[in-house]
């Protein structure tokens, strides 16, 4: 992977000419999910890549490409020999991003069911197409669920690595999807597959986080933070939390970079992030594994200064150079809370549907649940805890149950087409959901109204209606055919039509 170009940091805010969202805490959220594909019941092996192509056949015949954008502004993509991928339309709120992510499940499921129907015609009714919203197949290949956050330009990549990465590694306590590995169980899906060390995101081939050259926004204002270390979640709460809590931490980091003052998160840097990541993944108590700090004294001093009720549980003992994942999360929470004393209103103003207070309350609750080992509370929200609780119950019922059965159920949990386990957990009230089916269906049909996606979605809808040839990318809408015309939409926050856009729409 080539070195990332860094076009330079802007230390001070240019007041003149910046978009309205450059100040404040507005955020664009995105989630890209790669899905795994398999077929059972055909009486012979069926190649995953072929099934994926079959799934995308309706898309290809309509778009003349395996890369297309949908009426809800999202992107549907199949790379040759690779995984079907869905990238959510731009959202200003974690709840909207969640709705879009779930809309992606719906869109993918519909395509898979069509393919399944055709395969049944060929191979019989026993055929099932499985679409796995997870991160590992049975042979050790890994694939991802990546988050995107628009971050202000003046935050250096190194700052993100040192201050955000420890948060990303430890948030897995509640965002991890869990995985059966032979006789063991891990909290995360991906820890075994991510690079050993993250000394620099610019040089590693598979780093945990990096920034993209193309922010799909004004590069003088924003960069796009691409978070690779994250599991694909079935839990709606977990998807929402991933985005929401990361956003809060980014607010703190951005403001400190903007003002040129410490954020309080400098001391969170880990001595060995890769090692810490694996340690977190393997510690099912969530309270035992110690993560070595790059600056333990710094953290101790910072904890004393944070003036928080939970501070006593955070501080590494004198002489220690390590801290538990839970303690580190508590420290991040304490810093965010302190930050909110001054900035809560501005943060709330930036998100249309969610408040910082609500996010912090959920964060507090889950950390307390982890602290107290409240299995039932965790299992209702946290994917790995839900799986583990179910597997424990299964073993109680059948002490001799084969490891392969648990591996299978682990996969079934992520099968959005034919999986039984997760729908049952929801139907029986064991697992929490945040959005109802109607909201999800709406998100599949309509783009978020308050971002550039609204313009893209409307364009796609009309082009499809008219049967016109069109193409898009994140910043551009193109009408093909004789009337080859384009509209450029550089600002992801802007849902207002431009003259260029109106001209394009009039041509349809």
């Amino acid at each position: 992977m080539p070195q990332l170009r860094d076009s330079g940091d802007h230390g001070a805010t240019r007041q003149f000419g910046m978009s309205p969202q450059f100040e404040g805490f507005a955020r664009i959220f995105g989630v890209e999910t790669e899905y795994g594909v398999s077929v059972t019941g055909a009486g012979q092996p069926v190649d995953a890549a072929q099934v994926a192509m079959m799934m995308f056949q309706p898309v290809v015949s309509r778009a003349r490409s395996t890369n297309t954008y949908l009426v809800n502004g999202s992107r549907l993509y199949l790379d040759v020999g690779s995984h079907p991928e869905y990238a959510t339309a731009e959202a200003r709120d974690p709840m909207d991003a969640l709705a879009q992510d779930l809309a992606g499940e719906l869109v993918m499921t519909r395509l898979a069911v069509q393919a399944q129907h055709r395969l049944r015609e060929r191979y019989g009714d026993g055929v099932a197409v499985h679409l796995f919203k997870n991160n590992a197949d049975s042979a050790g290949h890994s694939f991802g669920c990546h988050e995107n956050y628009l971050v202000r330009r003046y935050v250096p990549l190194e700052t993100v690595e040192h201050q955000l990465l420890p948060f990303l590694i430890t948030r897995q306590l509640y965002t991890g999807a869990g995985r059966v590995v032979g006789d063991r169980f891990e909290i995360t899906q991906r820890a075994d597959f991510l690079d050993e060390a993250v000394s620099s995101a610019t040089t590693r081939s598979r780093p945990m986080v990096n920034t993209r050259d193309e922010p799909h926004a004004d590069p003088d204002e924003f960069r796009r933070l691409h978070v690779i270390i994250g599991d694909s979640n079935r839990s709606q709460w977990a998807t929402w939390m991933k985005l929401a809590v990361t956003h809060l931490v980014l607010c703190v980091i951005e403001e400190s970079a903007r003002l040129g003052v410490p954020s309080g998160l400098e001391c969170c840097a880990l001595a060995d992030p890769g090692e810490a990541n694996r340690a977190v993944s393997r510690d099912l108590t969530c309270r035992t594994a110690l993560l070595r700090l790059a600056d333990a004294d710094g953290l101790r001093r910072a904890v004393r200064a944070v003036d928080d009720d939970d501070a006593s549980s955070i501080s590494p003992l004198s002489g220690d150079t390590a801290v538990t994942a839970l303690a580190l999360q508590r420290y991040y929470l304490a810093v965010v809370r302190r930050f909110m004393r001054e900035h809560a209103s501005a943060m709330d103003a930036a998100m249309p549907a969610t408040t910082a207070t609500r996010i912090v309350a959920e964060w507090q609750t889950v950390l307390d649940s982890l602290e107290h080992g409240d299995t039932a509370a965790l299992a209702s929200r946290v994917d790995w805890a839900a799986k583990r609780r179910l597997f424990d119950a299964l073993r109680r019922r059948d002490p001799g149950i084969a490891a392969a059965q648990l591996e299978r159920l682990d996969m079934d949990y992520h099968d959005i087409v034919n999986g039984r386990l997760y729908p049952s957990l929801v139907a029986r009230g064991v697992m929490t959901t945040l959005l109802d089916d109607a909201s999800i269906k709406r998100a599949a049909e309509t783009a978020p109204a308050d971002t550039r996606a609204a313009l893209r979605g409307a364009f796609v809808a009309r082009a499809l209606e008219r049967g016109s040839r069109f193409s898009c990318d994140w910043t551009r809408l193109t009408l093909g055919g004789d009337a080859h015309t384009e509209a450029v939409l550089i600002d992801p926050f802007d849902s207002e039509s431009t003259p260029e856009y109106r001209r394009l729409m009039d041509l349809l």
Binding site: V37, S38, V39, T40, P45, A48, A49, D79, G81, S82, H83, M95, H130, F132, D137, S138, A139, H141, F143, G144, H146, R206, I228, D348, P352, A353, T354, T355, T357, R358, A361, T365, A376, A377, A379, S380, L390, A393, L394, A402, A404, Q405, E407, R408, L409, M411, D412, R420, L421, S424, L425, A427, R428, G429, V430, T432, L434, L435, D436, S439
Partner: protein, 65 residues
């Protein structure tokens, strides 16, 4: 206590929050959860009857990020 938490949460969040999203913050007792868990185990029994190895081994796919 869960119920207090839910009420405090509703006061803190704005109206649009409550109206536009269903948030289940309910926190069932352990006993109720256990019954529900048993029901889930019953639901997935038929899943366990088919060959697990075949299912697992059928999922091999390269080419991810």
């Amino acid at each position: 206590m869960p119920q207090q938490f839910m009420h405090a949460q509703n006061e803190a969040t704005n109206q649009q929050d409550d109206q536009s999203h269903e948030t289940v913050l309910a926190h069932d007792t352990a006993a109720v959860q256990d019954d529900a868990l048993d029901a889930v185990l019953d639901d997935i029994e038929s899943t366990l009857e088919t060959n697990a190895e075949d299912y697992v081994n059928s999922f091999v796919q390269k080419g991810g990020e």
